[in-house]
Amino acid sequence: METLAQIKARIEAAVAGAVVEMVPNDSPSGQHSLWVDNSHAVAVAQFLREDPELRFDFCSNVTGVDWPETERTEKVKTTRLVDGVETSVEEIRKTKRPGFLEVVYHLYSVALKHGPLILRLRTENRSDQVQVPSLTPVWRGCEFQEREVFDLFGVVFTGHPDLRRILMWDEFTDHPMRKDYVEPDDYEYEPTPHDEVLVKARRSGRGEAGT
């Protein structure tokens, strides 16, 4: 298989205007990935599948990752004029990384027996701009897995033929794989007369029956 930098260059040459960025991976696995902008994702996917030297015809794994907004605090030494004297002062600088949802695709080639190539798509934010293009039209194997990402992370796949919840039930409203998900005390709470009956029983125990 070509190196990731070569693949990136070929994508940029083949798909006009596509923004592709390398996402490095520092772990010993060395599986670096490519981030592709949403508006060209389908064209890039089609290119990866059709190109005779790449032939990524097998989309093995599709999954979501939630990256909430994080604040990183760094201590930075700067020099500043204090009462006319130049002194070095420690400053605490805060940098914010806006939150987003990410969809990760692991591609292999059955024809040429190489891989994986890892593609990443990102949403604008985590609240209202959560669309990414669906790659199901390119790889049918994404169908259920994208539905699962929609169900558990809340990523909306535009162009998906049948985007419904798959593991949670249809009436469920939240997305449980998000990092800030708080589970309800009781999933299957139904109002029952139980509480009222309990109050009544306590009252009757104190000899106030009938009130």
Binding site: N25, D26, S27, P28, S29, Q31, D57, F58, C59, S60, N61, T63, V65, V104, H106, V110, K113, P116, I118, W139, R140, G141, C142, E143, F144, Q145, L152, I166, L167, M168, W169, P176, M177, Y181
Partner: protein
């Protein structure tokens, strides 16, 4: 050996090939099959629309066994998830262990000692034997051969589970692999017992095949039923015996050569027609190949340590990064995708469940088929709901 050679090239067909509805649809009948249906192999439901007995539409419904395994794993230590992986595909806990251990080893850069690699191959191939034998039994059970083939398969499976119990302490929930090796070494006499089992297993296979392979009813019910073309199988990410039954030569043991699979000489059986019969036969032939691997691995098993000395059970914190590790599990490509942020818990933990993804094309295979064949087609996919719903 090819399927045609194993069955003397016999093809039978009693039922005329299904034709698409002849234009004039009768009154359609919607039925909900499952989740408590004996043929769904667990709590799985299909919403069927039937025209007479022909399937017009099929929508699978999942989630009855969903417990969000992935979310649970995010709040556990890396090792804490190991027993949970047993419960994904509860037929094949040892291959689940291996896939997870492989992903973590990639993430943390651990090296597995040679003896542990051999033990992993031996246990994984034993797992494949019992999974495929039982699948044959279940498939026949779905066709109405009540009991006999399944009990034959279970008899053999029990011998393999005895080996697992002697090695790991549990028949099914083995929890045996560790990051960088295995939990404990083989008990005395285990290797000889395994060799005896491998020597006796072909007799069971001969008997099973003599009973079933050229069975008139089996052929009539499965040949030409649930055909999956190779191009669709690849595009829909189908893996494992299902992919190979469609004639695609793709076995991760050969492609990735993970562990020490490059040391063994074995063939990859392929189907020609991609129907239910080929899926059954591919599994039967795969068992014979597994036996070859087992014979070689049990003979060459070296002495030595079974854990990487760098591996740490306590305070295990891989460096930030991510890794995807996959193996050829009996049901297909089982992968684990992990993201570490440097903490004691995985930031993201994902299971790539083969039997869930193999269900993607269930509707395509069933359209135009008889409703009675839906049961067999589903049986030939080989699903386990612990893994489908996670």
């Amino acid at each position: 050996m090819s399927i045609a050679a194993a069955t003397n090239g016999k093809r039978h067909r009693l039922v005329p090939p299904p034709s698409p509805a002849d234009g004039a649809l009768g009154e359609l009948l919607e039925i909900s099959m499952g989740p408590q249906h004996p043929s769904t192999h667990g709590v799985f439901r299909m919403n069927l629309v039937l025209d007479g007995e022909r399937v017009v539409k099929l929508k699978p419904v999942f989630g009855y066994l969903h417990r969000n395994h992935e979310k649970i794993a995010e709040s556990m230590s890396y090792l804490g998830s190991m027993p949970y992986t047993d419960r994904l595909d509860y037929f094949c806990s040892l291959t689940n262990n291996w896939a997870y251990a492989l992903a973590v080893e990639k993430l943390a850069g651990l090296q597995v000692p040679e003896r542990a690699e051999y033990i992993r191959v031996i246990t994984a191939e034993l797992t494949r034997l019992q999974n495929h034998a039982c699948l044959g039994g279940f498939l026949l059970q779905d066709m109405g051969a009540s009991g006999t083939p399944l009990m034959y398969a279970f008899r053999e499976r029990e011998k393999i589970l005895d080996l697992f119990e002697a090695l790991t302490g549990a028949r099914m929930m083995c929890n045996y692999m560790r990051f960088g090796g295995c939990r404990c070494d083989l008990p005395p006499g285990w290797r000889e017992q395994a060799q005896r089992l491998v020597a006796e297993f072909p007799a069971f296979l001969d008997e099973f095949e003599a009973l079933l392979n050229e069975n008139e009813i089996l052929m009539a019910r499965t040949q030409g039923v649930g055909v999956l073309p190779a191009s669709l199988a690849v595009n829909a990410s189908i893996s494992g015996p299902m992919l190979r039954a469609s004639g695609v030569n793709y076995d991760i043991r050969k492609v990735d050569r993970y562990g020490i699979y490059d040391r063994f000489d074995f063939q990859v059986p392929l189907g020609e027609h991609g129907d239910v019969y080929d899926r059954y036969m591919v599994r039967i032939l795969e068992m014979r190949e597994s036996l070859k691997i087992l014979r070689a691995a049990l003979a060459d098993l070296p002495e030595g340590p079974i854990m990487d000395p760098k591996a740490r059970l306590r305070g295990f914190r891989p460096k930030p990064g991510e890794a995807y590790g996959r193996i050829e599990a009996p049901k297909g490509e089982l992968g684990f995708y992990l993201i570490s942020e440097g903490g004691p818990h995985p930031y993201r933990y994902r299971v790539r469940p083969p039997s869930f993804i193999n269900l993607t094309i269930l509707e395509d295979m069933c359209l135009g088929q008889l409703v009675a064949d839906v049961v067999i087609i589903l049986g030939s996919v080989d699903i386990v709901l612990g893994e489908v719903d996670r």
